[in-house]
């Protein structure tokens, strides 16, 4: 599947030489070094990044700039990482599973008005 825009009428060409391998949910994919993990996955045709913790409904990236946290996955063992803000590196291991622990609810940490 080629969804990349390698040549753009105004922005010009991009180099697509620096491919690296990475793993998502135990499968190996290729992506461009330093593109966002969300972009690399989309270029591989993957839109579903996680499932909602309670309802299990599938979720993909929504804002693409770090605001909505819909794209959170675990990266190299660290949980709650936003795929839209994470530069892709060789050998990166990403997983959509894994519940995230935060300081939020018990102490009202995210109680916002």
């Amino acid at each position: 599947m080629t969804r990349r825009i390698l040549d753009h009428p105004i922005l010009g060409k991009i180099e697509d030489k620096n491919y690296v391998s990475f793993t998502f949910n135990h499968k190996v994919y290729k992506g461009l070094e330093n593109e966002s993990l969300a972009a690399a996955l989309l270029a591989n045709g993957i839109r579903t990044l996680r499932h909602h913790e309670e309802s299990g409904s599938p979720r993909g990236f929504y804002c693409n700039i770090g605001h909505c946290y819909e794209c959170r996955v675990s990266v190299d063992g660290q949980q709650g990482i936003r795929a839209c803000l994470t530069p892709l590196k060789e050998g990166m291991i990403a997983e959509s599973s894994g519940q995230l622990q935060t300081s939020s609810k018990e102490d009202g940490g995210l109680e916002n008005e």
Binding site: I10, S36, G60, F61, C63, I65, L85
Partner: protein, 408 residues
């Protein structure tokens, strides 16, 4: 200990950093994104003079300038809290804590959605997300999509998507309800589009010379919502249709599009299925001011500026000692205005750091911001100047009550 910290490396933060550094002030810039530029990165439109505004180039130029002046950057670093302590500002990030005398919040804007049944499906994204995927990451958000919400930003981004070879089936309205309100009301949407046409040549109504703004607006106005919609840059704009549902099993497969009457009510039985593999939601922008809020800055609701904005004056000072704001956190405007505000904020911080003789430069910079505003190629709210005046009046009022309470 730092002299100056800037949160956000968009046009406002970058310009402020360059200005501080040019005046000999040490600067550290923190941003949660991977690279510098903020929302400037995704921008791409034709200027009135026919040249292209290329956000990536603009960002790179500013960033390199800052680097050459010795500005330090921390990317992929999210600030989760700030507080004032012993006359210093403390900036908390997940890994490190920073201390500084001057702190500039240049965190920009966030998108507000219009909700549509099915909008949590993978493949549904904010219109800005599609812009970043396409122009910055250079991956197509999909092959064919629908944009829900007709406004300046969605129109510009529709054009950008088309430029990159992504098909846009149409720009259309969300179904009217208590949240979408104006955005689901064809008359109100048309009204706001007509407002845009009053402005200086806007990329929204001038792309190439084929569709001059009068022609486009005449079509919109005279035929009052032709059934087939109006085309802009060959993309159908449907003001008399609304998406009632986004459907798909595990990801987007299509949208249900219905005809609506002039009041925005769905004509029953008019629903049709439009197959698409992605959907963009465009509900507009609001100032992202959460850090000013945790710092305890007073806020005002100014519709013309896009929502709640932290109190500030023309020098970009907040009522909190050493805390500054610039760019879209102060109100929704284009990148050039954000950069102009960044210059003023940079000068104000340099002034506070003890650099002498900046008063005239600061006043010039304030004037420059106004000029930039008046000639801005993109305006998100037609009454932006009214909004700017309101917040300045609030500043005056706040200062005088402060003086009074000191007297008593």
């Amino acid at each position: 200990m730092n002299n100056t910290i800037i949160i956000g490396s968009g046009p406002a933060g970058l310009t402020a950093a360059v200005t501080c550094a040019e005046n000999g002030v040490d600067v550290v810039v923190i941003d949660e994104y991977m690279i510098a530029g903020g929302r400037l990165l995704g921008q791409l439109y034709e200027e009135p003079n026919g040249s292209w505004w290329n956000g990536i180039k603009e960002s790179t130029t500013l960033y390199e300038k800052a680097i050459n002046l010795g500005v330090k950057f921390h990317f992929n670093t999210a600030v989760n809290n700030i507080e004032q302590s012993n006359g210093l500002w403390v900036v908390y990030t997940e890994k490190d804590t920073f201390y500084t005398s001057n702190l500039l919040l240049a965190t920009g804007a966030a998108e507000s959605p219009v909700p549509v049944p099915g909008w949590t499906l993978p493949g549904v994204m904010s219109v800005g997300a599609a812009q970043v995927m396409t122009n910055v990451q250079r991956v197509k958000p999909g092959e064919r999509g629908v944009i829900i919400g007709v406004n300046v930003l969605s129109a510009v981004i529709a054009m950008e998507l088309q430029l990159a070879g992504v098909e846009i089936a149409c720009l259309t309205l969300p179904k009217r309800n208590r949240i979408t309100m104006k955005a689901g009301d064809p008359r109100k949407v048309l009204d706001s589009l007509l407002h845009v046409s009053h402005m200086a040549p806007s990329p929204f109504v001038r792309y190439g010379s084929k569709l001059m703004k009068n022609d486009f607006m005449k079509k919109l106005g005279v035929n009052f919502y032709p059934k087939k919609g109006v085309k802009m840059w060959d993309i159908p704009i449907q003001l008399r249709k609304a998406v009632t549902k986004i459907y798909g099993e595990d990801e987007v497969e299509g949208v249900t599009l219905a005809t609506i009457n002039a009041d925005g009510e769905v004509v029953s039985g008019s629903e049709e299925h439009i197959p698409v593999d992605f959907v963009c939601i465009a509900g507009g922008l609001y100032p992202l001011a959460e850090l000013a809020a945790v710092a305890g800055c007073p806020f005002y609701l100014v519709e013309e500026l896009g929502g709640y904005v932290p109190l500030h004056n023309e020098r970009m000072e907040t009522p909190l000692e050493g805390l500054y704001v610039a760019g879209n956190i102060t109100g929704i405007e284009g990148a050039k205005v954000a950069a102009a505000q960044g210059t003023t904020a940079g000068l104000s911080m340099a002034h506070r750091s003890g650099i002498k003789g900046l008063d005239n430069t600061i006043n010039d910079s304030i004037k420059m911001t106004e000029q930039t505003r008046n000639s801005a190629p993109i305006q998100f709210h037609p009454e932006i100047e009214v909004g700017r005046k309101k917040i300045l009046q609030q500043w005056e009022a706040y200062q005088s009550t402060k003086r009074e309470s000191i007297c008593y």
